[in-house]
């Protein structure tokens, strides 16, 4: 069964006076519980596709269905609700909340997803996930005290702490060394298997493709068949 269905998705940006088509009729289906890797040259529109699918910006046309709900027809507050409860997103650049400590980034996500966990359970889950990404010792640091790779690991923890159905990850391992990259990918895969999380992941790293169930390639605003 497919969890996310993208049909004829289009996106144009105004660049100066011109409209430039960045996505040209993209079709893509994500099978529930599977990991899909999205590859393609720089500027081919991978990040744009990911952010539109995750409801972070509007498309110019086309349909996105998430378990039978049409995301393109949703009000911004309905979309917000889906993002908070069902989606996790790892940005190409970590994009942590600059004034919250590592622990509070996760607390915020738990609260935003309106999870009714007890205080103790919250603490336990935060500790578990931070230990998994090896950031527990930095739990009280602010983002400006972390290296790029450390920030990215916190961002990954934030994207999965609330157990989303669908995880979008834009080059999650780009700022990590190869040992950490493997760890993070194993983490994503084991989470995907254990908790039936569907993953759409952009990567430039060929070595990471072994963790994906399927690889699709973008070229010039289209998915190569």
């Amino acid at each position: 069964m497919s969890l996310l269905q993208i049909e004829e998705l289009e996106k144009s940006f105004k660049i100066g006076r011109n409209e430039e088509k960045i996505l040209k009729s993209v079709d893509l289906e994500l099978e529930e519980g599977r990991i899909t890797a999205l590859v393609g040259t720089s500027g081919s529109g991978k990040s744009t596709l990911l952010t539109i699918a995750a409801g972070l910006q509007q498309s110019s046309g086309g349909i996105i269905k998430f378990s039978d709900k049409d995301l393109t027809n949703m009000s911004s507050s309905q979309m917000r609700d889906v993002r908070a409860k069902e989606f996790g997103f790892v940005f190409q650049h970590a994009h942590l909340v600059p004034f919250l400590s590592v622990k509070d980034q996760l607390n915020l996500m738990i609260d935003t997803a309106e999870l009714k966990w007890s205080k103790k359970e919250k603490q336990q889950r935060i500790q578990d996930i931070l230990e998994t990404v090896d950031m527990w010792k930095h739990r009280d640091s602010d983002p400006d005290q972390l290296s790029g790779g450390e920030k990215q690991r916190v961002a990954i923890a934030r994207a999965i702490i609330h157990e989303p159905k669908l995880l979008f990850a834009d080059e999650p391992t780009a700022s990590l060394d190869s040992k950490r990259s493997v760890e993070v990918m194993e983490l994503i895969r084991s989470l995907s298997i254990e908790r039936n999380i569907t993953v759409l992941m952009v990567t430039h790293d060929e070595d990471m493709l072994v963790y994906a169930d399927r690889t699709v390639e973008m070229k010039d605003g289209k998915i190569e068949k």
Binding site: Q57, F91, V97, M109, D142
Partner: protein, 342 residues
């Protein structure tokens, strides 16, 4: 709430600067209105210290009290319906001290009443500000309108008219100097009433008959109004700017699904905290400043006035914060992140 506080703690300098600006603007507004109020009070404290009530003068005088003469029959009419009526006269004049130095003052005389000090014939009670000219109790002051001179008996607090010190004198002396048996004005604490050939004024209307008062008030009110409007706009702009500057952060919060109302609450809490602290300091300082201002500088700032201004600033700051909140709620998360560059 917790988030608002954490953000302020993280960016202490930024919020300290914002707070200082809010403080300086509101302090300036308060000080200027204190000085303006002081000036207007100084113009006519004689009248402003009287209770609310009605002033009557002859209609023929065309609102110029020194042309008014209340006839005996008019006086009777007024006394019949207002037992408490006080009759009074005011004249600009001057007094010469023993060194030949002249001092501009305003003579005020009245029938027995509870508002002005009692004076005997040949005596003067002067506004205390004249002490700065070196005049002391017991001094002999003369006038070319009368052969005998006056003895200064005492000083009164805040009794000025048209910016000059009031000299309370006995009615007999006044009649003697100005060759008139009649008073110019009647004052009662009762509501105004129609009396033949008399015009009635409430306190404010009467103040406006003082030459210089209305023109001065107009300028002062204009200054305060402009100051308030401009500082209000600055207020709104600063709260707007600080929020727009955080667009990237708001984009991230929106991206993870934080509700718009939560973002608005964050802005409101910060705005209220900063405004509250800045205003409390500004109001306290604007009250304490009387301790260091020189005596001759008239300054008057009622707490009530300060409170009204503070409320105005709050509303404006709230509008500024809300406007930026509404704007932020409209942009897509990705757009906010890209524009904000966070």
């Amino acid at each position: 709430m917790k988030m608002a506080w954490k953000e302020m703690m993280k960016y202490k300098t930024r919020y300290l600067i914002l707070g200082s600006i809010i403080f300086l603007i509101s302090f300036l507004t308060l000080i200027i209105s204190g000085l303006a109020n002081g000036l207007s009070f100084d113009n006519a404290s004689l009248v402003k210290n009287m209770p609310e009530g009605t002033y009557y003068m002859e209609s023929k005088a065309e609102e110029q009290y020194n042309f008014s003469e209340i006839s005996d029959s008019q006086r009777e009419t007024i006394e019949n319906s207002h037992g408490d009526a006080v009759f009074m006269s005011i004249q600009m004049g001057e007094l010469e001290d023993e060194d030949g130095q002249k001092h501009g003052i305003t003579y005020v005389t009245a029938t027995d009443n509870e508002f002005f000090p009692d004076v005997e014939k040949g005596e003067l009670i002067l506004d205390e500000s004249i002490q700065e000219d070196g005049i002391e109790a017991g001094d002999e002051l003369s006038t070319n309108l009368m052969d005998d001179s006056f003895t200064v008996r005492d000083f009164a607090k805040q009794e000025k008219f048209s910016h000059s010190a009031v000299a309370f004198i006995h009615p007999d002396d006044f009649m003697n100097m100005y060759q008139s048996e009649k008073y110019q004005l009647a004052f009662t604490e009762d509501e105004e009433e129609d009396i033949d050939e008399m015009s009635a004024f409430n306190q404010n209307q009467f103040l406006n008959t003082i030459p210089s008062y209305s023109a001065e008030m107009l300028s002062l009110n204009m200054i305060i109004a402009f100051l308030f409007v401009i500082s209000g706009m600055l207020f709104a702009i600063f709260f707007y700017m600080i929020n727009v500057q955080k667009l990237g952060t708001y984009g991230i919060l929106k991206a993870v699904g934080v509700k718009t109302i939560t973002l608005l609450r964050l802005m409101w809490v910060q705005m209220i905290l900063i405004t509250l602290i800045s205003l409390v300091i500004a109001i306290s300082l604007s009250q304490l400043i009387t301790l260091v201002l020189p005596e001759e500088m008239p300054y008057q700032l009622a707490l009530e006035t300060s409170a009204i201004m503070a409320a105005g600033f709050f509303i404006i700051g709230f509008i500024g914060a809300t406007l930026s909140g509404v704007q932020i709620s409209k942009v897509e998360p990705m757009e906010a992140i890209n524009q904000g560059g966070a």
